[in-house]
Subunit: 238 residues, 2 copies
């Protein structure tokens, strides 16, 4: 029964035509067009396909569509992921956990530059990653699905970005950085960080990347924080 034509009403060809030879990548003319990847490589390709699909349709995108994008059959997916939820978690960790660039930590603490300049550079780099439609859409889809992702992200942003911003600004204004960051100080930085995220979402919803004036919007956000923090923390207090 090789290359059998569909004969059963339940046969699931899922819109596949007669099985034409289909090459996933025209990279090498000598390779036998496709098939037989290592488990690791295949798994990575499935996750990549899932990322692309889920960022468009949300996590209700079907495993069949994931498989179609990966150029494989749907049951093969279950050799690499015990169920769909597990695949979703793989997408989470691939997209969200691998976001942070270690170089950024040093960038934020480089006191040879002003806080403004440091965070301007940082946010331009950060939004370069985070304003990708895939990241932004997956992020909001994940946020609406379960709150755990959000709790984790809240921690990351607070510890890696916002608290350093508050502390470095304190130093720049001649105050001590050792006291715990207050809720008020955090809220102020969250307003701007959240405002930037919202800006990215609006941009992507409008279908425009708008690379040009993104630096200006970041600068406006930082301007506001500099004015606000200076008004709230006069430098002579010590």
């Amino acid at each position: 029964m090789r290359n059998a034509i569909c004969w059963d009403k339940n046969c699931e060809t899922d819109g596949f035509q007669v099985p034409i030879q289909k090459q996933s990548k025209p990279s090498d003319g000598a390779t036998p067009v496709r098939k037989r990847l290592s488990a690791q490589a295949r798994r990575a390709e499935i996750v990549q396909a899932a990322i692309e699909l889920f960022s468009e349709t949300g996590f209700d995108g079907s495993t069949r569509d994931v498989a179609r994008r990966a150029g494989i059959t749907q049951p093969l997916l279950y050799r690499y992921f015990p169920n769909k939820e597990n695949l979703i978690e793989a997408v989470y960790s691939r997209v969200f956990l691998e976001t942070w660039d270690m170089q950024w930590d040093g960038m934020l603490l480089d006191r040879t530059q002003s806080v403004r300049d440091r965070f301007q550079r940082f946010y331009e780099a950060y939004t370069e990653t985070v304003f990708q439609p895939v990241w932004l859409r997956l992020w909001y889809f994940a946020l609406l699905r379960d709150a755990n992702v959000h709790a984790w992200y809240r921690e990351v942003v607070q510890e890696q970005i916002l608290k350093p911003l508050v502390r470095e600004r304190r130093v720049e204004l001649g105050r001590s950085e050792v006291f715990a960051v207050t809720a008020e100080e955090l809220d102020a930085t969250w307003l701007l960080h959240g405002g930037l995220l919202n800006y990215g979402l609006r941009q992507q919803a409008a279908g425009q990347l708008d690379q040009t004036n993104r630096p200006r919007v970041i600068a406006e956000a930082l301007d506001m924080y500099m004015l606000y923090s200076a008004a709230r923390m006069p430098p002579q207090i010590n």
Copy 2:
């Protein structure tokens, strides 16, 4: 064949037990427990059920679950809505179009109060509506589904809230309000508005309403704008 027990494999009782008499509202002891609403009332109940379900599950929530919440059978839904997409649009207009309170327009333009006080009061009232989990979640679900909703919302917020804020602040600073609002001015207000929306989403994702310090966060956002606008628009320029 009344009250027939399920006999066919395809019979769709959908988890309903033996059809016990079920009352939708224990309001009146004399009413015959349920059934027979006017078309208008039934339609409203379906939309309400859809709002609640979709705000939890997203718009992929099934029509069967909507029907179950409304206390009716699923096919009845199709007497009031030709298809699911139409029901979704009914949810859109019920939730998003009926959001704006006409009183707010006057509140924003009442020059007997400072711009700060006016917008503090406004945002406290506005977020009272908009920070409801139903509104916030439905909003982001809609935003991720189709960009049209977003384009409409962008206009509403800009024309009803942000441009009035810029113009009123110009007046307060002794500048003319007649010149067109610039992109820079709008971006600054969008940052704060978006920051507040993001704050609401974070609150709801964390599962806490946090009614107490919402006014403080609003005040911080307005503080920032007041400082920023004063720095950008010195009052002597005319």
